[in-house]
């Protein structure tokens, strides 16, 4: 099965929640110097709710789609949901069979999320 499923390509070509939040509660950046990918995640918490979550950065289709899908899932959810996002969640969310080397691309947004 191709890594480049319709879902992945859709999120890569039309990333959701792409951009910065002017008055974010928190923001964190991560990078992978080996391939030059970098992602900055922005989050705005209202009470216990994730009112906004966005990302900026550059990277491969997998890392960009992963960030787009992750933010789409989290937006509007309770902030407790942040702790539930893990490697297993990401793999299931993407729905593709990532090899040992490409999994790092998919997990880069998670790394940023964990720092928030």
């Amino acid at each position: 099965m191709s890594l480049y499923s319709e879902l992945i390509l859709d999120h890569y070509q039309h990333p959701r929640n792409f951009g910065r939040i002017a008055n974010s509660t928190n923001q964190r950046s991560v990078s992978n110097p080996l391939c030059g990918d970098e992602i900055i995640m922005f989050i705005k918490i209202n009470g216990s709710k994730i009112s906004e979550i966005t990302f900026k950065g550059k990277g491969c289709a997998i890392s960009m789609a992963s960030a787009s899908m992750m933010t789409e899932y989290l937006k509007g959810k309770n902030k407790e949901e942040l702790k539930k996002i893990d490697k297993k969640f990401i793999i299931k969310m993407l729905g593709i069979d990532l090899g040992v080397n490409r999994i790092k691309c998919a997990l880069l947004p998670l790394e940023a999320l964990n720092k928030l």
């Binding site: 191709s2 390509l9 391939c35 289709a61």
Partner: protein, 425 residues
Amino acid sequence: MNFINLKKDFPIFKNIPDLVYLDSTATSLKPKAVVDKLVEYYSNYSANIFRGVYKISEKATEEFEETREVTAKFINALKSEEVIFTRNSTESLNLIAYSLGRKIVSQKDEVVTTIMEHHSNFVPWQVLCSETGADFKIVDIDNNGYLDLGMENLKFKSSNLKSKSRILNLQNIVTRRTKILALTYVSNVLGTINPIKQLIEAAKRINPNIITIVDAAQAVPHLKADVQDLGCDFLVFSSHKMLGPTGVGVLWGKEDLLKEMFPFMYGGEMINGVYIDHTIYKDPPHKFEAGTPAIGEVIAFKEAVKYLKAIGMDKVREHEKNLTSLCFNKLNNNFSGKIKIFGPSDVNDRGGVVAFKFGNYHPHDIASIFDESNIASRAGNHCAMPLHTKLGVNATIRVSFYIYNDGSDIEKLVDGLKRVEKVLS
């Protein structure tokens, strides 16, 4: 020699008939002769070497030492004792940095390397300099991927190799304080073939005591390398990049230097006598071969050397030059304006390594889409981050050729790139 037929010598093509292997710069495929020799050792005489006074140990020892002789002849070393087996080129370079670097380099000295090095010929010298306080100097490249010695029109094109005057400007970089000049023969990203012989001659004119170290990991597999002709003090390469097994590297060094260096590791097989207060080491090469080596792999390595010798290194070089030329033509014709190939545009000055940028597509996506058509390529900085920083890119996609590649592989590469465009845009 009909190169098209060489695929038949490589068992992997029987098992994966549609494999388009374009990653020989990372490691090469193995011919049946090498695989058979490995199996022969493990099946027929899998004993430890040197001290066994029984038949299969003696057979293994003879086979092991024969590889040393075959290897020495292949690079035209004066003596087989100058050939040391390590794990890989990386270990060979680290060995020199540790065993010689720490002996001869101090605060007032300089170590010179280049921006196009693999990390393994960059970081050991960077660390040595930071530990000793010596100056770490780096030769830059020009916009065409040639070493740039800071003088206009000073390009080390192989077509100009005979004109020694062009290299005179090396004195802008190498001085009488330079203890070590460590540089690559062929770049693993740009493909640039550096004029090693002329550079060494020029460096030794400036400072006769300079130690010259050549990383030939991308050269010995692909062209005729003659250590006496090059005039270097050390030259390193890896078995696995030249059709041989993994786990075997070669360090060639001049005997008098090897004798004065510190040992690298201490232990079995490198010792003549151990006393409570001191130890006496063996002479090179055994001084640097502590512990049980990769016996079967060293033994099988000679089959790789013999295979290359039977083809002839001039023919290997010619074949790769033709493939690179074909690759340039096909890429430029099919993807004009969308592709940027790094390194010299003249195939006479470069090996069969082609790193490029393709549109705005991410190298990892390109490599993954290639893989869906069984094209093996490589994406990233290829262990040459300073070079990629210099080139202003984070990562490149790289394809590389060897004797088993042919025109059909280039066609598939073109199809692969067309598929990248189709999938991602």
